[in-house]
Symmetry: C2
Subunit: 368 residues, 2 copies
């Protein structure tokens, strides 16, 4: 039958039909109707982090990584020194893009199955005064580990360092409050926990920081200062916006608000995650992370230690049953990943667990 | 009534319902089904320029300007010297982004109501051997003028200079043939004459050039070499692709092929443009460009020389009748612009002309 598979992936993910239906209309990007959608969305995004007093939000075309690069390029002066707290693949990517653009970048490495450590950051900042900015990945999608945003923000504030947060896969689900967590920039995207479609990111920037950031970026496309100044002046995006992605995100955020906002979304994802982990456990599959550090966003699962297991065959068997899984991103241990996010609930997660059990049995593995 | 207005804009533009309906499905970006869409689309894009022998095509997230910046960053070595042929706003933007990324950029200025001159380029190249690359905007959307791509390509080839073509608003409509026009890179985007929705660009790069381009880009997100190598190896995009935009473009290209490809599209746009200009003339409105240099993409029109004329009121009156116009981009003379592209034909253009006439009369102007 022609039913769409459910995406158990960290974005693009399964969106509601209502969100997708918003794309059945073409919008003039210069027109006041579209500008009103942009303005309303920006206000709603600031609402989510209680950021109206302290921050602006600047949308940007492209994938989330484009917005991470734009945040570093705009917020960090050319002579700045960025320390990346590294416990996974997305941390390494942030360090790489910082180095490529010519900013000095250092890495503070942690084990990838544990959160980064705020005390270790404090010690490093105390011994290297040249560091100007810290980059934190809030939920490291490579493993699914939740990093301690509030603690890291407190250390950065105490040491007078700028904090750039990649909140790509946490924003909208995990609590983020600009009134209690001080950050210079925080990055997220349309196609993650807000449950829009992929194609744009957005960056919250502290007002004093965006005002002082003119001339930092060596990229025109990624200059958030220029994007912000133009948008404030005209109500429009600087360059052609992804109009259909934008109106889909606006529709997704309307549903986010109707659902009850971040607390309700977190509760649903926690329930999805608990359903998944309990179901996997019954199949004899173990999560890579201990429960205390597992964000309810994406779960890394140890591959079955059985000669008949093969990820590609497992993936195909689960897909044939209507569920799209995600490959692991670890190099040392064989794993696969299952997303808990998107427009899905307990029923879909239980169906997914059932399908994974059937898929394993089809491969000739014992399962449950 | 709730009928969508027709966008007489240079993109985003009016797309078919079939194109938009393709977005009613969520795709896993790692999944083989999506990879197959990407692969087929890339082959079809190469077909359009007869480029399979000589070029690769690299898609990129973001607006068209992102792809222009990526083309320059990837193709021009750090010590390169770029000469921008400047007859309008998009030329100036290309020069600006080249300078910002730290490449040496010079500008050869032309009048904005005339095409750039290939002989003038030849003279400049003869007197300045330090120039390594030339940037040409094929159809300068600021005015709508068509620049002589074949002549400029021949001059660049004769002088051994790399040519980067911004074919954003011409690709798919004006003829471009990689077998007879030598270019290092040619840039276009989803939401223009292919009649997709906005959100991604793509760059044709000569095979020898992409192979030699590792390490040129100082931006991770805009490194087309890295994007290309990863896509060739895995079939996937490096970072989250705008999945819905991609499948809409694939559906739009299917319709492009069914319509008869570039010659058929050009014929329709020429008919749209002729209908528009004849209709405007009957209303007493004059195009900014002489007919010989007018591309059938977007027409810049002199604003009526009458005290009752006001663009905002004219725009609102046309919008109330179902047509979205576009503001002028010239600083010296007051103009407005009307796009001839998108999923529209002679009927829609005639209706638009009728609506513009009514709008002018509503403002109290004589019209026709």
């Amino acid at each position: 039958m022609d039913r769409d598979p459910i995406l158990l992936t960290p974005g693009p993910l399964t969106t509601t039909l209502r969100t997708k239906l918003a794309m059945l209309k073409d919008w003039g990007s210069w027109d006041s109707d579209f500008n009103a959608v942009t303005a309303r969305l920006r206000a709603q995004l600031l609402d989510i982090v209680n950021g109206h007093e302290t921050h602006v939000v600047v949308p940007l075309q492209g994938s989330g990584t484009f917005s991470v690069e734009a945040a570093v390029a705009t917020v960090v002066p050319r002579e700045g020194h960025v320390l990346v707290l590294d416990n996974g693949a997305y941390c390494k990517r942030a360090a790489k893009l910082t180095q490529m653009m010519g900013r000095r970048a250092s890495v503070l490495a942690f084990a990838e199955d544990e959160p980064v450590s705020a005390p270790a950051l404090a010690a490093r900042l105390a011994e290297d005064a040249s560091i100007t900015h810290v980059v934190l990945i809030h939920c490291e999608t490579g493993t699914g580990v939740e990093n301690p945003l509030a603690d890291v923000a407190a250390v950065c504030e105490r040491h007078g360092k700028g904090l750039i947060v990649d909140a790509m896969s946490s924003f909208g689900a995990l609590p983020i409050d600009a009134r209690t967590m001080r950050f210079d920039a925080l990055v997220a995207a349309s196609g993650k926990c807000l449950e829009g479609v992929p194609g744009m990111g957005f960056v919250f920037v502290r007002k004093a920081v965006i005002e002082a950031s003119a001339g930092n970026s060596q990229s025109l496309a990624m200059d958030l200062h220029d994007q912000h100044v133009y948008m404030e002046r005209t109500g429009q995006w600087r360059f052609t916006p992804p109009t259909h992605v934008m109106v889909a995100l606006a529709e997704a955020v309307a549903q986010f608000i109707e659902e009850g906002g971040q607390p309700a979304r977190l509760a649903r994802y926690r329930d999805n995650c608990a359903t998944l982990i309990a179901g996997l456990s019954a199949l004899g599959l173990q999560p890579f992370l201990r429960p205390e550090v597992q964000a309810p966003i994406i779960v890394t699962v140890h591959a079955p230690d059985h000669p008949a297991y093969d990820f590609k065959r497992f993936y195909a068997a689960a897909k044939a049953r209507g569920f799209i899984l995600y490959p692991g991103k670890l190099t040392e241990v064989e794993t696969f990943r299952v997303g808990c996010i998107g427009a899905i609930g307990r029923n879909e997660m239980q169906q997914a667990v059932n399908a994974m059990g059937e898929a394993l049995r089809e491969l000739g593995l014992p399962a449950g």
